[in-house]
Symmetry: C2
């Protein structure tokens, strides 16, 4: 559900905006939670960095998406938020938002619904990561991200970013896409991938 449809006016009034340069971090894992964010433009990714220095991409939020929902019930952020492009975001401060939700059961319910759908999409991502084969993992992603025509996927950002989101090396993704194109399963055209045999 779009944030506009449930965000209480009080919380909206208390919101502030901020611009981010590409690569800039909005918060880090362990830092104190200040509230919930909405992406106004650009893309922000949520990642965790393991000791080997690898980024695990947990989520990519685009315009209209919210992120850091769980921050309302946690004292610290549990991942890093980094701008994948130049971006602007709106912050709904935790204190005011929680107070407004307490007074507005309908909004609280909508917020719960948002969290519930987030849970479902996270589980889909776990399912994705369980697929070993690069080919199948890419196909899995494509099928789940086709647009309204049922066969075309619009890519947000670079293929390199997609590789990170899929948990593959960019080399592996390039090769896999090339193979899929050679075998006729997909067609590519600058930022778009079309499935030849939509499911």
């Amino acid at each position: 559900m779009p944030v506009k449809d449930w965000m209480p006016a009080v919380a909206r009034a208390a919101a502030s905006e901020r611009k981010l340069k590409i690569g800039e971090s909005l918060f880090r894992q362990g830092s104190k939670t200040v509230g919930l964010y909405e992406v106004l433009s650009g893309c922000v990714r949520l990642v965790r960095v393991d000791r080997a220095g690898h980024e695990a991409v947990l989520h990519v939020a685009g315009p209209g998406d919210t992120f850091a929902e769980a921050s309302l019930f946690s004292a610290q952020y549990h991942c890093d938020a980094i701008a994948s492009t130049n971006a602007s975001v709106r912050l709904y401060p935790k204190r005011e938002l929680l107070a407004a939700l307490d007074k507005n059961p309908k909004a609280m319910k909508a917020f719960s619904s948002t969290l519930a759908h987030l849970v479902i999409s996270l589980r889909t991502r776990i399912e994705q990561r369980n697929i070993r084969s690069a080919r199948d993992r890419v196909r899995h992603f494509l099928v789940l991200n086709v647009g309204s025509d049922g066969r075309t996927v619009e890519l947000r950002g670079a293929l390199k970013d997609l590789a990170a989101e899929l948990g593959l090396t960019h080399e592996s993704l390039y090769r896999t896409l090339a193979e899929l194109e050679r075998s006729g399963d997909i067609r590519r055209k600058r930022g778009k991938i079309t499935l030849s045999n939509p499911v």
Copy 2:
């Protein structure tokens, strides 16, 4: 938060119980949602099965845990629930529970909090699946699951089940544990694993 602490009396009154034999399924992906479950005894795992027939373990719920939270905001279950042991569960029917939550903002808030913490733990699981090395993935799991002494992990169920939960083959897990034991990083004793160098 334990379900007892927030579950409205009305919903509790409407609950029913059910026993499951090991391997029995409680619901399947795509089946109509009937409500939220609590595990009374045994273990229930949530899985998705990909077309290759592999199970991706999304969650394992033990006594006191709830599962299928998102069902309240979805018409169909998005994964399978299968008993990993003989188990008994309690069903809080969707209709009555939603009605009770609507009338009880505090309970709704607690439910949101439960969802938020679920989101965090799911992201931790994604982080885990992003670790390629079996050794590191096992260590990651162990560190996150130590008991109150900070070094001992109590295993629920068989190592084979743990392997599935970690997204490894059981052979790989056995080998990895054997290596960790040989190198002195862990010690094993029937159902318990102790870290030699707790973090």
